[in-house]
Symmetry: C2
Subunit: 240 residues, 2 copies
Amino acid sequence: MSLEARRFDHAEDRVPPKFDADWSLGPSRKASVENGVRGRMLDFEARRPIIDEAEKARCVYRIVEGSVMISKMLPDGRRQIIELLGPGDVFGITTTGTHQSAAETLSPCRIAAYERALVESDRDLQLLIAERMKSQICALHDHAMLLGRKTARERVATFIIRLLPGRGGAGCRGPADPADRSAVTVSLTRQEIADYLGVTLETVSRAFSQLKREGVLSYGRHDAVTVTNVCRLCRLTGAH
Amino acid sequence: MSLEARRFDHAEDRVPPKFDADWSLGPSRKASVENGVRGRMLDFEARRPIIDEAEKARCVYRIVEGSVMISKMLPDGRRQIIELLGPGDVFGITTTGTHQSAAETLSPCRIAAYERALVESDRDLQLLIAERMKSQICALHDHAMLLGRKTARERVATFIIRLLPGRGGAGCRGPADPADRSAVTVSLTRQEIADYLGVTLETVSRAFSQLKREGVLSYGRHDAVTVTNVCRLCRLTGAH
DNA sequence: CGAAGAATTGACCGCATTCAAATGCGGTGG
DNA sequence: CCACCGCATTTGAATGCGGTCAATTCTTCG
């Protein structure tokens, strides 16, 4: 159970997003929204706020490129990172007129912003968004299991496995290659990983160190990790 | 962090659902799906499994009446209850062809089951489902915050507040009525509450007892709780 | 009334948090 | 190139919240 009340405010170095006027509203086309994107296109640098918690909800957003984190804070400063999103994922969805969580870029991003009115009038867009919501719901389910029932070690193992595209899920059945290595870039700080996994940054650091000591991971720079034994890591996630 | 590996199998007393042949497929009508419900109508008694984890996904479900819990289990028996759902909520959504979580009724239920093929061909239905997915995503976000960052006491307080319809959210600003009581029925066992909140049943029990001792709650039978002081309880949730 | 299951309560333990200090790394300017 | 600074990370030691194990009480139901 985490009680740390450390405060976070990246907000002080807030910068207005530089966005191209690349938007083509026009009459609703039947054609896929994938290609000719309606709505504004926004470009952000890494670590820029996109949505503030409690901000008035104007748009729904869809990531074209880059990664974004969605988070919430309690009044005393405890933060939980709710989702880590990548290309295709949507955010800024709310049932009230107000956003209930904050969004911030983790890497340079290209993001499509759809006015709420536009979304409401465009069924193709609604379905595009709905489709992606489904997979995000599944991810939220998995994450609830992690947050509610997994040990710190299992959380970290699960986190790293998720960074390996295509591994850990359906691809990781049985003890495949014993000496099976794979490099990943961890673009989050220990604090952010901790806030995502519902533990403290010290606990995350200890888990990384232990996995390194045990020969499951190896890394020099903190963000360039090599998973030395994918299958062993997989068995540490609690899910297998 | 929870490590208990108690096993749950309500499944042994499985009973085939008695469902009326109340379905009216017919050609897709523009009219709201709310009234003339397409798809099968199923009736369940309380505590009946609807979906098994890892079951092949045939249908998407929508609750007409009653309440349902969605859960997941780790191989060693740790269980997490992911969502508690009521009328209007949808479940059985998955991106793969397989369900990734189990569903079980908590009360007698009337549930609409839509064949996946039907859903894919019916845009009105897709939008109806999408609309509800939005609010469920928001609930999942809130729950992630609870699971990741709140203390046991705060979790229980939050849980009880959520049972009070219309309270705790937008309705609970400022110290309103000081002596403000409200009765609720807790239809979950302590074990289920625990699995929902990511703690043990003993911890839930202790939290209830403490709240009772402090005069925030009062109850004789375990499931008929009166919140003696709603606002005080609200302040214990960590969200205010 | 008695049995079975749920809930409560107590005692002890352990994992993760908390507090604190040391180390490592990247950037900046002399 | 190196010294220095700021920040993230690592590591250590102590504390405490919630988990675990176990015994008791309460409730329901046959």
